[in-house]
């Protein structure tokens, strides 16, 4: 028995956090979610797998992408032609409510309903497989759905299909569960979805997140793909295969530049020395021993991107962000006591003050979402400190 476990295809959803991208890469990026998904289905056909399970978030409902739907129809038809069944449990992004289900996917596709259901199939080898799962009826599922899963069926294999996250105890909106609960069901395999980083929650029986087949933001680094699961001596053994078209990387590089032109040269050298195997969106953090004399204007990177297209293409690395950091030294203001800075920080870096300052910008959903991220606030303070250091540096120069 052999099947493919994939999740979080997020078809046709845009790449996040890109301010600019060379046009050559734009087409690749735009197609990447499709290409990655196609690689999964290609593998399914090449391996003659018995079936495919997709653990939710095939597409983003909010995107309402025609291309995504057309793609799914086309790919499912391919699998249908090869008589490969597909099992889908919709997740929080493609939750089932109000979908255009009048036009059904091909007959080989089984989509689970809002209640936990179990489908049983008999493989060509004569083995029987039960697949249990459910689909999100709305964006959030706050109750633990595992209790509704049946025990191991009277089949050779039983596979659980679950889109959700391990319970944390508070604000669990995504089908909170515990690994112990899953183990208690005695299934042969738990195909999880929702978390974009692939990870193994349990070794045997495998309880595992397949991760998404294509990283779509700076947070989704590393090799992306799906799992080919085969039965070996009565156990199901998952084997990862890569499908990502475009990779994301966040290298931290030690550089010695003291000026912007030096920085540019050193970044270029690094690019030449570290070519990537496939297009890689690189958000670089350059660590400098001392602060540079010049401040980096926001346009500097876009200028660099324009002037170094050739080098970036050669190394397949596209610098999408360049953060420059200098070693963190305690903030010593020449004229003001550290105490006062700390006191000032306490009054300024409060949620209330920040929100007040953010003000009307909160009306923009994209900005509001960014602002609400936990990392944002910390980053703001770090950046402010960086600003201060820079000003102090200037002050130091003035004095000398």
């Amino acid at each position: 028995m052999k099947f493919i476990h994939a999740a979080d295809l997020h078809l046709d959803s845009p790449f996040l956090g890109l301010t600019s991208l060379p046009s050559t890469l734009l087409a690749t990026v735009r197609q990447s979610t499709f290409t990655a998904a196609t690689r999964i289905f290609d593998r399914a056909l090449a391996e003659h797998v018995d079936f495919v399970v997709l653990a939710g978030d095939l597409f983003d409902r909010s995107e309402q992408s025609v291309a995504a739907q057309a793609f799914l129809f086309q790919q499912f038809q391919r699998l249908a032609d090869a008589q490969i069944p597909v099992f889908i449990s919709f997740g929080n992004h493609d939750y089932a409510a109000d979908q255009h289900q009048t036009v059904a996917y091909p007959a080989n596709v089984t989509t689970f309903g809002p209640e936990v259901g179990t489908m049983t199939i008999t493989l060509q080898s004569g083995e029987t497989v039960a697949v249990s799962g459910f689909s999100y009826p709305e964006r959030w599922v706050t109750t633990d759905p595992v209790v509704n899963f049946p025990g191991h069926a009277r089949t050779d294999w039983h596979i659980g299909l679950l889109h959700g996250a391990v319970a944390t105890g508070s604000a669990d909106h995504y089908a909170p569960f515990t690994v112990a609960e899953l183990l208690a069901k005695r299934y042969d395999y738990w195909a999880l979805g929702h978390i974009h980083h692939r990870q193994l929650l349990n070794d045997q029986p495998p309880i595992l997140y397949a991760g998404n087949p294509q990283g779509r933001s700076i947070n989704e680094t590393g090799a992306k793909g799906a799992y080919l699961v085969t039965s070996q001596q009565g156990k199901l053994v998952p084997e990862f295969f890569e499908t990502g078209v475009v990779d994301w990387e966040v290298p931290t590089v030690q550089l010695t530049a003291t000026t912007l032109s030096e920085l540019g040269e050193q970044v270029t050298t690094w690019l030449t020395d570290h070519p990537a195997a496939k297009p890689t969106l690189t958000a670089m953090t350059a660590t400098l021993p001392t602060a540079m004399d010049e401040t980096m204007s926001p346009d500097w990177l876009s200028l660099y991107q324009k002037t170094h297209q050739r080098q970036m293409k050669a190394s397949q690395r596209f610098i999408i962000r360049l953060n420059v950091t200098t070693p963190t030294t305690p903030l010593v203001a020449p004229q003001l006591d550290q105490v006062y800075w700390n006191q000032g920080a306490k009054t300024v870096f409060t949620a209330a003050n920040e929100e007040q300052l953010f003000g009307k910008l909160a009306q923009n959903p994209a900005l509001a979402e960014w602002f609400d991220r936990s990392a944002t606030r910390a980053q703001l303070q770090a950046l402010a400190e960086q600003n201060l250091r820079q000003i102090m540096g200037e002050a130091g120069h003035d004095v000398s």
């Binding site: 006062y340 900005l367 960014w370």
Partner: protein, 873 residues
Amino acid sequence: MYLNQLTIYGFGKFHDRTFDLTAGLNVLVGPNEAGKSTLTQFITAILFGFPTKKHPALRYEPLDGSRFGGEITFTQNQTRYLVTRTDGPRGGTVTLRNLTTALTLPPESLPHLLEPVDEALFTSVYVMNEPRLGTVFSASKQELVDRLRHVGAIGSDFWLNQAQILGKQADELYKPQGRNPILNQQLQEHQELTAKLAKAKAAYDTYWDLLQRQQAQRQQQGKLQQELEQQRQVTVQLEQQAANWSTFLQWQRLAQQQSLTTTGFTREDATELARLTGRTTALTATLKEDQTKLQRLQQTTKLTPLFTQYLAATAQVDPLFEQLATVKAANETCARLRANQQDYQQRATAIEQQYAPDGQMPRPFSLATLQQVKRLQEKLATANQKRRQLQQELNRLNEAYRQAQPTRRQRSNPLADKQLGWLAAGLVILIGAMFLPGTLFKLVGALCGVAVGYYGAFIVDGETPASRQLQDLTDSIRDIQAQLREGGQQEDALTNQLEAVGDSYGLGQIPVDQWSAAQAAIGEWEHLTQQLQQTAEQLTTQTQIISDFQITAEQALPDLKVQPLATVLQQLAGLQVTRQALSSQQTDLTAVAETIQRTQRELNQAQRAEETFLRTRNLTTVDDFYRHYQQIREQDNQAAQQEALASQLGPAMQEALQQYATHAELATTVQRAQHRQQDLQSQLDTLTTSLATLAGQLDQLTASGTQAALQQKLANLEAQMQETTQAWLTKNLTRQWIAATLAAASGDRLPQIVTQASEFYGKLTENRYTEIELTPNTLRVQLATGEWREVGQLSRGTAEQLDLAVKLAFAVVMNQRVGMPLVIDDGLVNFDEHRRQAAYALLAEISETVQVIFLTADVTVNAIAGNLIRLTD
């Protein structure tokens, strides 16, 4: 820190002049133009640098051309430093020496030594003169606060400046009410893009609609295709049916013809008939030919008319020749039979006269009866004989009895001896025989022995003793008498039985002893009767043979009619003879005749065969057969044709066509089917076109990519916006942070300064005012009476005193962190006498903690203790 010594090389009106200062209060007294302000400026210039040459009035270059500059010795943290500044670039050439360690220090370290006091702070706080004291009145709210912050936090000017720059930069990024800043523009673009995307997303619903329609239409298409396919088949079938209509009609017509189902008219039959008729014809011809030939031959040979007649009927006559002998014999037999018949008749009549007087012939006995009668007669005879024997026996016995009775004799019984003798002899012979040689002799001997023994045992035994013999005789006589009686009865019964038999057979009148003779006569009579009968039958047979013969002969030869048989026989014999003669003499003729005969026979056979052939078919003539045969052939042809048509049509087609009465009806149906097909085809075409259009629309929607592009663009824009917002927020937060830090830094000392200032202010105003308070907007002071006064409500002098009090308080409070000499250049001109004295006292008090350099034109100052220096000296 305090200044120890001021040495002026050349500065303003001074040259080569040295002033020694103490750590406490130094009062430098001089009239106007004595150089009080010059000295104040000298201290500032040496410590913080000469003003640029753009402002020559502030540089105080020496008027007499002596060396510009000077030196100051000061003590800080118990270390003495000497700073020298002479004319040079960037505020002058500085040398710095640590006098305690006698080391020359780099000039750059001077600001650090003075830190955190810079020129601005020094001039604004530590250096006081009358105009500067008045600035408090012109201070706006913000300026006042800033000034207080400035006073409160060293170097805050720079930070305030930076904060302002950050604010400007932030404003370039975003203004909540603006249009042009970057983020404002980005937000605008975001709005536009979102609208565009929403429009693009409308395609999503369209897509699903199209998809749904496509699915529905595909199903419909499939259904229509199926229908069309069926309809096509129907139409094709119907068209085929239409094409077959004429065939069908023909088939129908043929099917309606009645069939003659007669056997015996096959081709073989016809051939057979042809063969038969041919043979007949051929034979007839041959016969005719032969007869002609015979006639020709006869003409050459003289023949009796009878023979001629015979020749014509050889076939009939020839068998007669063969019968000739038979008939002759039959004729003789007839004669003999008639004689026999007469003889039998006479004999039978004789018997009848003897035994059947009444004409009734007794019946012969059956075999059983015969035997019975014989037995009865025998028994009767036996019974008679036995009776006679018994009579004789009785007579004898009676005689014997009579003899035996008187002579009774004693009789010995030698029986046992005799018997034993015989048995012994037999035994001896038997045993002796055993010794004889040869089996035969042994056997014979044994038998002899046995016979002797037997004789002895049984023969001798018959002799009875005489006593018993008499008794036996009596018994025998009685027995025989009984037997005689019984025999008489038996005889009577037998006689009766015989009489019954005689009656039943009509032999009643004949005595029994004649019965066997009578029986023989009856048997003969019956035999005769039979003979008669047989003879009569034979006669009839023979007569029949003869008459048959005669009839045949007469038929064949009419000349022989009404002639006695003998003549006929004679004639026929004559014919035979003639024929034999002819046959022997005239071979040709005979041969011809034979041929004719044979031919005639064959012809007859042939004709018979032909007749049989026709008769079995219920026909009379050959022509009938052929007519019939032709009909059948015709019918067969038609059947074959029909069959061919049927197979051409097939059973299904036949069945289908039978549903239609007329061709018109079929044609209408065909037309209807064709119309329906066309209709379906056109529907399908429309649907196919529609589907193609749908597919095109779907392809366009799928492939347009506008949405994806917009989506990515929007995502990118959002990323940019986030960056911009981040920068904006960072700048604003940094600005706020600086402000907050400054506030914190000053806010810490302000209360101290305010308290100190209140105290000083009270001393300066002879306790008329007791409290200074920093309000959010400005300063206010409290009178001893408890009233509050705004700064603007104070008199000039009182306001200057407030400023002085604040500055002194600042210097005193800040001295904890940094010590700087207070330089007061004739700042108390607007003070009244009391308050001036109070100020002097205050200065003296302060000088205990802070070096005070007080420059004044007031000569009355002598009253104050301290280092008094007269500038005019």
